[in-house]
């Protein structure tokens, strides 16, 4: 009787251990999914911004005929930014930094464009331009939020896979740390135009 009881207990312990491993693994998978979803939200918003650019450039061109250098600069920056794609499952910090850098350059180019537009009162009064400008501002804000969101989700995931004893499960199943967006004070808010 005692011997059987001992075996039952051992099986129970093993069973609980297996359950715990399962549960931990599943939670890591879920959180990884959250991070990937947040990443695709970041990409969406940046894409949305990139999509605004051709229209914006065309509108400005109509009024600011001699600002070709600036306009070309924007188109080039946009091309560079849309070329970089990242697979969130395997992203390295360097990849993410490069992505952030390219998007930052587009932000700067857009900032220059908006500054140029200042000197063209007719352009500033153009409804289409105003609409595009507000969409650009809105999209920049959304990009900021999306980045913040991603960082938060990535942080939760990283904590989950690094905490003991979960980190044992993580290393067995190959869960790796996700990179973060670095704090970028300049690109925090959209190029503002004061009325």
């Amino acid at each position: 009787m005692k011997k059987a009881f001992g075996w039952i207990l051992v099986l129970a312990v093993l069973g609980i251990a297996v359950l715990w491993v399962m549960n931990t693994y599943n939670r890591m998978v879920e959180q990884e999914e959250v991070v990937e979803a947040s990443w695709s939200q970041v990409e969406n918003q940046y894409q949305r911004r990139a999509d605004l650019v051709p229209n914006l450039v065309a509108t400005v061109k109509g009024y600011a005929k001699h600002e070709e250098a600036t306009l070309e600069g924007v188109m080039e920056a946009r091309a560079k930014a849309t070329q970089i794609t990242i697979d969130p499952a395997n992203a390295t910090p360097e990849q993410l930094a490069a992505y952030q850098q390219a998007q930052g350059e587009l932000s700067q180019a857009l900032g220059r464009l908006m500054a140029v537009a200042e000197s063209y009162p007719e352009l500033k009064a153009n409804e289409n331009f105003l609409s595009l400008q507000s969409q650009l501002e809105g999209t920049e804000n959304r990009c900021t939020i999306a980045r913040q969101q991603f960082n938060e989700d990535a942080r939760n995931y990283n904590t989950l896979i690094r905490r003991f004893p979960g980190n044992i499960v993580a290393s067995i199943f190959g869960f790796e740390k996700k990179p973060y967006f670095e704090a970028d004070e300049e690109a925090k808010h959209a190029p503002k135009v004061e009325f």
């Binding site: 507000s134 969409q135 501002e137 809105g138 804000n141 939020i145 939760n156 979960g166 499960v169």
Partner: protein, 302 residues
Amino acid sequence: MYGIDYTPATVPDPKKDGQEFYVSNPDAIIADSDVVFLNTCAQRLEKETQVELCVVALGSIGDADCFDFSYELFQRWGIGGKNKNTGVLMIFVLDSHDFRIMTGTGIEGVLTDALCSEIFRSLVPVFRAGDYGGGLCLGAMRIYEICTDGEAPEELKNMKSVTNRGKYAQMAADDDDDDDEDGWDLEGWILTFVVAFLIFLGIREKWLLRKKCPKCGKRTKLAKNEVKQNANYKHGGSGIYHYKCPKCGHEWSVPYTTPKLTVSSSSSSSSSSWSGSSYSSGSSGGSWGGGSTSGGGAGGKW
């Protein structure tokens, strides 16, 4: 100058007073009649499109950035339905001349950034002229018009826009800032207790239940329990424990008795009681729907 510097945590939530309130006006920046109009407008809007409009008029938010403030407030209160996210926050700050309309993810398609920007620009002269309440009422009317125009109401009512934040933020919020992703959870605790119990049993077996051999001192386990009689309600029990030391072969016996059974010792007294009064959360208060925003909308300095 206008009272305290508000933070997203200290702005009074109008829903606390009831589901039919949508306006937070703690410094009385706008007149009561304007508040009534805004509430009516928001009520109709919610009835016809299920959009939750929240209007906040504050004297000051200190040095805080209006966009960040609005975002935090929106997320904290959860404006808009949880699975629709068709919430709108219209925020006005007096001392820093800030105004913003922030849109939930589900309403972005109808109340676009461009439209929000248009509304903002149209209100700038009104605010500058000092008619804050009037400006906000105009803004609310405009939002109402946009949301009830054409097919917009149907689109908004049928909107399903569950965000990541919706699902997982709710879980995190329910745990009250407790880390939901703690690697040490229920199974871990059960495992610990079971292992501890096993260790305890092991110790008991090897130590406590064994008696020292009078001759050589080796801890010896029970060889035989000779029960003379079992304890019952008439008399106590008695028996003899027989030991045999495995080291030196010495055998010895220890007699024992057990007490007579009594009535009260066999039942555990359980007092029945009510499990406690049931609490109603927020007796007359209401709440926002639990929606979230991705930072859309428009605004600026007026």
